[in-house]
């Protein structure tokens, strides 16, 4: 189980149409990217955070844990802005701190918007609707299969790794490498075995090439749809107001 994925299925927003949630989170993401970072990014981040925690009830722990790796990327990547490479070698960059702060702020705000969408919108609801955006059916079906199978394969991977550790497969660097090679090849073989068995299983259910299914209708609720652009509008208004202050 993946924390963001599990949170999305439990989300109180589960009954809302993915398109409406995309509109809401996408509007905020647009604000994060396009508005001037100060005060645009902190304003967008604050509003997104309020929406995510207060309204959509995304678990704070999940949000925090998920944000760690990408924030790590943003911080390390932005360290380079602090220095400059000139004819006389390295030096401190003028305005480097400001530039780094801009990027980290924008990145944080955008990341929260991404997590707001991901933490409220299960892929099982989103994927089958992608064909309506014009994506080819085969591509969407393959993506849906990958989504289903990756949990099965991840589970297998976890158990093989456990078994290896139990037989001292992590005791030394040599052992760790031996384990990793065995894990990679075993998971490869198991994945393909899965595919073969699923093929046989589906043949019994009448599979001849199409994986068409009935997608449960999620009504587009007018009220939610009408409120969806509001957080973004609020972000724009607040930013403009703050900017116009002397």
């Amino acid at each position: 189980m993946l924390a963001i994925d599990a949170a999305a299925y439990r989300s109180p927003w589960r009954r809302h149409h993915p398109a409406a949630k995309a509109l809401l989170a996408g509007g905020l993401l647009g604000c994060a990217l396009v508005l001037p970072p100060w005060p645009g990014a902190p304003v967008t981040a604050a509003i997104t955070l309020a929406v995510a925690l207060g309204w959509a009830r995304v678990p704070p722990r999940t949000l925090l844990r998920a944000a760690r790796t990408p924030l790590g990327f943003a911080l390390t990547g932005s360290l380079t802005f602090l220095v400059t490479v000139g004819p006389d070698g390295l030096g401190w960059a003028d305005g480097g701190v400001r530039r780094a702060a801009d990027v980290v702020a924008r990145c944080t705000a955008a990341l929260l918007c991404q997590l707001l969408f991901a933490g409220t919108t299960p892929l099982a609801d989103t994927l089958p609707r992608l064909t309506r955006l014009g994506l080819p059916v085969t591509l969407v079906e393959v993506a849906a299969l990958i989504y289903r199978m990756l949990f099965v394969v991840l589970d297998t991977t976890r158990r093989i790794r456990d078994a290896q550790a139990g037989r001292l497969g992590t005791r030394s660097l040599r052992a760790a490498w031996r384990s990793l090679g065995g894990l990679g090849s075993a998971v490869f073989i198991r994945s393909f075995d899965r595919a073969r068995r699923l093929e046989a299983g589906l043949a019994g259910r009448g599979y001849t090439g199409s994986l068409s299914v009935a997608v449960a209708e999620i009504p587009l609720k007018t009220r939610f749809l009408a409120t969806a652009p509001l957080p973004a509008a609020l972000a724009i208004l607040t930013t403009l107001t703050l900017q116009s202050l002397p």
């Binding site: 189980m1 994925d5 599990a6 299925y9 589960r14 299960p122 892929l123 099982a124 609801d125 994927l127 089958p128 849906a144 299969l145 989504y147 289903r148 949990f151 099965v152 899965r194 068995r197 699923l198 046989a200 299983g201 589906l202 043949a203 019994g204 259910r205 009448g206 599979y207 001849t208 199409s210 994986l211 068409s212 299914v213 009935a214 997608v215 449960a216």
Partner: protein, 274 residues
């Protein structure tokens, strides 16, 4: 007795291997429950896949309502709308992350109209008593729940015969109880049920008819009689069930009347002989 599904002198060999069996015949009586018993590797799954059109016999034929099955696309579709196979591992059958979408696959594939598909899904989930799982993702379900979803996927085609490969494997006792109760309900609603197992206790308790696969031959008969035949079970490398052994002992000591049926569960013993 009308055989809804039967195998007539069927032989099969996997590519490059010895024949699994060289000529088996089996009649599945309409509306009854049949347990197919045998040790691992004897060909139970192969026989079930032959009966459900997943494999094509090398010799002999499979008959549906008395007529030989045709292996054209049309013939197979006909067989599969009447006979559905549920595999031992639900992950071999569930391809969608959404329960509803997965169960809808059969009916959609059959070309049924959208509202009929919806009705079939609702009906199948209700029959398996998993209506509340409709919106849950497959990967967050327990093994027992996934098993029920896999069976619902088969039921959505409203098969006349439901064939289950080791249906209780991996289930705990309360999961087994619940599944047996559901199978009894399905049978009461006129579905014929075939299940493979190597648990003689389970077969003795659940099935009306039994078929024991031993030494490439199939021995068939009413479960009560066949499963009390210890010599046959021994030949089939199966362990005798408690029920017949206890029943024999109790009758010998006059605790059970001579014509009483064997006990089916330990709970049956509580009231015995008082």
């Amino acid at each position: 007795m009308t055989a809804v599904l039967s195998a007539h002198d069927v032989a099969y060999a996997y590519e490059g291997a010895d024949p699994v069996f060289a000529g088996l015949s089996l009649d599945v009586a309409a509306g009854r429950s049949l347990a197919l018993l045998g040790p691992n590797g004897v060909g139970k799954t192969t026989l079930l896949r032959l009966l459900t059109g997943g494999l094509r016999p090398a010799r002999g034929e499979i008959r549906l309502d008395g007529s030989p099955v045709s292996y054209s696309r049309r013939g197979l579709t006909e067989l599969r709308t009447r006979v559905q196979l549920v595999l031992q591992d639900p992950d071999d059958q569930l391809f969608s992350a959404s329960v509803t979408q997965d169960v809808s696959f059969g009916p959609v594939n059959l070309g049924l109209p959208a509202d009929e598909v919806r009705a079939r899904v609702v009906e199948a989930l209700a029959a398996m008593e998993i209506t509340e799982l409709a919106d849950r993702p497959t990967h967050l379900l327990s093994f027992g729940q996934r098993k029920r979803v896999a069976i619902a996927g088969a039921l959505a085609l409203r098969p006349a015969v439901l064939v289950l490969d080791e249906p209780t494997a991996g289930l705990d006792p309360s999961g087994v109880e619940a599944l047996l109760a559901t199978l009894a309900d399905l049978q009461a609603a006129d579905t014929t049920i075939v299940a493979s197992t190597h648990d003689v206790d389970l077969a003795h308790r659940w099935a009306q008819d039994a078929a024991v696969l031993a030494g490439g031959r199939l021995h068939t008969g009413p479960a009560a009689g066949l499963l009390a035949d210890e010599a046959l079970l021994h030949a089939a490398r199966l362990r005798p069930a408690w029920g017949p052994a206890v029943g024999r002992l109790l009758r010998r000591h006059g605790i059970l009347p001579a014509d009483a049926p064997d006990p089916r569960t330990p709970a049956d013993l509580a009231a015995t002989g008082d």
